[in-house]
Subunit: 395 residues, 2 copies
């Protein structure tokens, strides 16, 4: 049979990163292409004890159907946590538990967008979210990212000139892939532009707790007096991605529609996994754990940036990020970026070609994305050394 | 701000069942409205041991990101299991792991249907799946269910007369809500009609292992020589729904598109949960466990049907199902069904009004759905007794 696929799916390609990662299943390849948290950042012993305790004392709640909104004790725990930490949440907001933060993007798009509507996003941006928007037949309108976040004049122009914009998607902290953190002034301007144009802001903050230097900047959601910001948070980077537990905080009316969407898509997030996260908050010092993993990533970020400065100093341009997982490097104009990436894989170093993160992934770019959380410390140094050797061939 | 929702979501209402269940959070209400497996059917000790062992011996795989297709050992385990048990799967098929069987419906709809396309389904059918199809802007075309499954003449007529039919959705075993099991002859005719009309069959079999009497009937998927059947199976009813692990088996080409859709919707099903299911197969006798829960449900099904015969014998019409979780009861024509359901809730018995399961949920029906897996055995007897008392008022 000749299968005919829906319009919105038939042009969607598998994630370029995941395709590269398949090539790198070979364990001899140094994985600078991935985005996996460092396994030594997982609180393994704590999860062992918590899971054992839940299944001993409360197995039926862990194994039975739950409600689509999420496990109520965890909803309460998160509401308190983000209120205290980031001043997020008003009386008109509520918190939902979702199966990974990508599901926040999925359900927001489902409830807000018809096919042909536009999502404004940073350019470059996280490929998983871009593919999610594409999978609903949305058009993408990219706004360039500068060292201090989205170009606000370009955003204003995009809002003025683009029809049927349903929301603005932003990763304000240590953006994937650029590493940029949006300044307070830009966050304030983003909020007023969204308000003026009656457009929702989808603020995705998976890396916010991975700050290794500098001062925390208030979230856009903390400025939200009008009920126009949906905030997405995740436990993938601070606890464990394999549990697939994330959350969002936003206007009750929108989240009620997202709940209806979740009923019809995966019914609810697994109960055992939600209970593990809640017990982690109840019995352990989450802030101390976050401080610990900040230490792990501070060391790795500096290791990679120092290696780049040493091995690739004249060759690439980049801005040292204040946190997150990624370094976004620009190759010289005379270099064929895709050929460079291919040479790197041949020499057993996997990196992601920057075009994967563009709204038009066939557009030209000189950028590559490097990750420092997945490789070992030795892998970071060796990987950058190899890229340095490839760079020498261009001189 | 006045929120404007997408066309496909703005008319979708929260599940009527879940709304009724909220009214029944009151523990004094007898829950004949739910569809939860009986907690005594959960292999609690086994899951305790398995989870402990996984988190002791292989914590990083359990907590790290996984691949969208699913945990490979579990994919292999399931492929073998359904091949041996149901002769499901050809060289052109593959198996994906999904986050509950509703996600199978979600991704099949996403990859096959544009807005305005038609899904043919049984009438009545599972509200969760109907809402899933609606959430993609699909039209629903219902085909009446008879005691031996879908009316095949009506199906043929629907296929002849309806434009842009993308798939036929069927629950062939102990259908939710009707309890009907499709005969072998009808399954064969369904397959040839689908083949003739170049239409995919989505075979949803969550209850197949819950047969309490009679002989197993071959699945439609076992007849699939043309690559036109997608089979959905679940561990919600035989292991535990709170784990949210399900699977589908179908043509590689379609499942590759579904994988792209899954990447963009929840990335992957939680690793710990997939590993628990796989270790359950490796270390325990799954068939023996299924035989045990069949015993539990046989007793409850007979208890409820005997109570109905005793207390409501002259009042309702129903066909005793050969398995599953539900009894589908027709009230007399002179009874206002919705008023009856309301009276039942007032007398502390929750049942589901049958219109919830119709393609047009505002259409009239005399049916109600009763569930025997969620209440205690005492609750079953008492609940039907109370319905019997209400029935007396009509005489």
């Amino acid at each position: 049979m000749d299968y005919i696929f829906s319009d919105k799916i038939s042009n969607l390609q598998p994630s370029a990163i995941r395709e590269i990662l398949k090539a790198t299943a070979d364990p001899s390849i140094i994985p600078l292409a991935a985005g996996n948290p460092a396994p030594d950042a997982f609180p393994v012993e704590e999860v062992q004890k918590i899971a054992e305790n839940i299944l001993q004392t409360n197995p039926v709640d862990a194994l039975q159907y739950g409600v689509s909104e999420g496990y109520q004790p965890l909803r309460d725990t998160i509401a308190d946590w983000i209120k205290n930490k980031e001043n997020i949440g008003t009386d008109d907001d509520t918190v939902l538990i979702l199966s990974g933060a990508t599901q926040v993007m999925d359900l927001v798009t489902k409830v807000l967008c018809n096919e042909g509507d536009t999502v404004i996003c940073e350019e470059p941006s996280f490929i998983g979210s871009l593919n999610c928007f594409r999978s609903y037949g949305c058009r993408l309108k990219g706004v360039p990212v500068e060292a201090d976040g989205m170009d606000m004049d370009a955003l204003e122009k995009a809002l003025d000139e683009t029809d049927k914009v349903k929301f603005i998607y932003t990763i304000p902290n240590f953006q994937n892939p650029s590493g940029a953190t949006m300044s307070l002034e830009k966050r304030q301007r983003l909020y007023s532009l969204a308000k003026k144009h009656n457009v929702i802001v989808l603020e995705d903050n998976p890396y916010g707790d991975l700050r290794v230097t500098g001062e925390n900047v208030p979230t856009v959601k903390s400025m939200d007096t009008e009920g126009i910001v949906i905030y997405a948070g995740s436990f993938s980077k601070i606890l464990a991605p394999g549990l697939r537990v994330a959350y969002c905080c936003g206007p009750k009316q929108i989240l009620a529609k997202m709940t209806v969407g979740k009923q019809a898509s995966d019914v609810h997030t697994p109960c055992l996994n939600q209970m593990i996260v809640n017990e982690w908050f109840k019995h352990y010092d989450v802030d101390a754990h976050i401080a610990k993993i900040q230490g792990i990533y501070r060391k790795r970020l500096n290791l990679m940036c120092d290696a780049i400065d040493r091995e690739l100093g004249d060759f690439v341009e980049y801005v040292r990020p204040e946190g997150g997982l990624f370094i976004w490097c620009k190759l010289p104009d005379y270099v064929d970026m895709l050929a460079f990436v291919k040479k790197a894989v041949e020499k057993k170093v996997a990196v992601v070609p920057g075009n994967a993160f563009l709204t038009d992934d066939k557009a030209d770019t000189q950028y590559i994305r490097l990750n420092f959380s997945t490789p070992t410390e030795e892998g970071i140094v060796k990987g950058i050394q190899i890229l340095g050797e490839i760079a020498k061939d261009y001189k």
